[in-house]
């Protein structure tokens, strides 16, 4: 079908404030030109929590975690305290590209119920490297999975395209362990991976599609290891960091020009990140904090959460998803429904009073699950979710020796500083939320099939 087209460029973990600063400094001339052509840079809220798997899934499905069921990279099996790693098969709401393809694989959601009746003709999508789409699954178009994709054979739909990508040396992801042992080599890998990403986008761009989602995840890796170099001109890797952004800017400009040339006035172009980033000062081990406050008891034996012992009232999963240890949900649980409220109040007070050495607060926001989530998977939601002040990376590590610890990483995610670039006429009024965007994309296609 010839008609409206949408191009979405995702840049994982790129913060609004840094983009604004780099555009100002002249490091991103293509982006500057795009902004001058009638686009606006917005600061956007990421999902709660601001983890890539949750944020990208929220973007793709347009619904909150209690509807799509993804709350983090890890979930705890309440039957035996073992860890589960949700994948694309665990996403319980259809994505906007499944809605556009008129095949939701039997899934439904509030967004699908609203938009499916408005479309009569299936539209073709190409979706490359969006996190939490692994293993790839049948859809109307092409899907190349992003993080945590393990092997190309299961990361590509239709599978026959895997050989094409393999031949061109496509990189699913860089090896993050290299960032710990060979920083210069890791940077080289990031530049190389970005080249390969661009080649793959170019290849698929030539095909027929209505919606194209191209995601770049190297930015997130760069930030985890080098974010302290972003604005520090004396940092040994500052030049390389800026060069990476210049290369990114070139890629964005290249795609925008191609899109304009091919689809002109029919096109809708959007750039977004799934969360912001900040320089990391300290890691904060939330489970150690809960241990010291008497909420968590650990056994000596067992792995990770299997160490949870009798007497535990609460524990946390990364980054700060705090769960009450209910007696009717966990084998060793002992919190009854009647006690929940007093525990939640006590925990809220504790987190409010969690302070750094200089007395400044660590936690900037505390939410109860009913405040931020609505949907059929509300039971899986954390009872409390805390967001930190920038600089303090909250961790769910079990068995840490201290509450505050130095980190091997330079950067940490934040929820409040994701970025969004949209045509100026798309006005949100308030600060946009990542979950609003799927509806916006689907709206663009509405009215064509009447």
């Amino acid at each position: 079908m010839e008609g409206k087209k949408v191009l979405v460029v995702g840049i994982d973990g790129v913060p609004y404030t840094l983009v604004g600063e780099y555009v100002e400094r002249g490091y991103m001339p293509h982006l500057k030109a795009i902004l001058e052509e009638g686009y606006k840079l917005h600061q956007m809220d990421a999902s709660l929590p601001d983890i890539s798997s949750v944020s990208w899934t929220t973007f793709l499905t347009g619904v909150n975690p209690a509807e799509h069921s993804i709350y983090g990279f890890i979930h705890l099996d309440r039957r035996d305290y073992s860890l589960r790693f949700p994948n694309s098969g665990n996403v319980m709401a259809p994505t906007f590209f499944q809605i556009l393809g008129l095949d939701t694989a039997g899934k439904s959601s509030s967004l699908a119920n609203k938009y499916l009746p408005r479309f009569k003709e299936p539209r073709t999508s190409i979706v490359v490297n969006v996190p939490h789409t692994y293993p790839a699954y049948p859809m109307n178009g092409v899907l190349v999975s992003g993080f945590v994709a393990l092997d190309l054979a299961r990361a590509v739909y239709p599978p026959v395209l895997a050989s094409t990508l393999k031949r061109m040396g496509y990189v699913i992801d860089v090896d993050p362990s290299k960032g710990h042992r060979d920083r210069a080599g890791f940077l080289e890998d990031l530049f190389h991976a970005l080249d390969k990403r661009r080649e793959a986008f170019d290849l698929f761009f030539k095909g027929k599609w209505d919606l194209f989602v191209a995601c770049i995840t190297e930015t997130d890796r760069l930030h985890h290891f080098f974010f302290d170099a972003a604005l520090d001109e004396a940092h040994p890797y500052h030049g390389a960091f800026v060069d990476f952004y210049k290369k990114l800017d070139d890629l964005v400009g290249h795609f925008y020009d191609m899109f304009l040339e091919r689809h002109g006035g029919q096109g809708f172009f959007m750039i977004l990140s799934d969360h912001g980033f900040a320089t990391l000062r300290k890691e904060v081990n939330i489970n150690r904090f809960l241990e010291e406050a008497g909420f968590l008891k650990l056994k000596e034996e067992g792995e990770r959460y299997e160490r949870i012992a009798l007497g535990t009232k609460a524990f946390a999963l990364d980054p700060c998803r705090v769960y009450l240890h209910y007696k009717d949900q966990y084998p060793l649980g002992e919190v009854g429904e009647g006690e929940a409220e007093s525990h939640l109040e006590e925990l809220t007070d504790l987190f409010r009073n969690l302070r750094n050495d200089d007395g400044s607060p660590i936690i900037r926001a505390i939410y109860r699950k009913e405040e931020i989530y609505q949907g059929p998977f509300l039971d899986d939601a954390p009872d409390l979710l805390c967001l930190p002040v920038d600089g303090y990376d909250l961790k769910g590590r079990i068995g840490a020796g201290t509450v505050f610890a130095d980190s091997v990483f330079a950067g940490m995610h934040n929820q409040h500083d994701a970025m969004l670039i949209l045509p100026e006429e798309k006005d949100f009024g308030d600060k946009p939320q990542i979950g609003d965007l799927a509806g916006l994309l689907l709206d663009h296609f509405c009215g064509e099939d009447l």
């Binding site: 993080f147 393990l150 599978p159 993050p176 961790k395």
Partner: protein
């Protein structure tokens, strides 16, 4: 990959039209009898069309001698294996997500 049935049927018909015309032309060239050449052509057309179709479908099921795409048998697995889970844990740890 095996062909769809409709492709086999269309190939059967197109080949039969071509081959029957050739047969009728040859019979006519040797005998000079138009009626006989058309008769042989019709009998041959029906019988050989059936035989050709069965022959084509049988060969379609034999993979020997076929060029096969290396990913033709790939199955999309939804479930992660224990090895996958180990690898994922490793990746998440390396990025500080665990």
């Amino acid at each position: 990959m095996e062909d769809y049935r409709v492709r086999s049927i269309v190939k059967t018909i197109s080949w039969r039209v071509l081959a029957t015309l050739a047969t009728m032309f040859i019979v006519f060239a040797f005998t000079g009898k138009a009626k006989l050449s058309v008769g042989i052509g019709l009998v041959e057309a029906v019988s050989k069309m059936v035989l050709y179709y069965l022959h084509e479908r049988t060969w379609g099921k034999i993979s020997w001698g076929k060029l096969k795409h290396p990913l033709a048998d790939l199955v999309l697995k939804k479930e992660l294996t224990p090895e996958d889970k180990e690898l994922i844990q490793q990746r998440l740890k390396e990025l500080g997500y665990m």
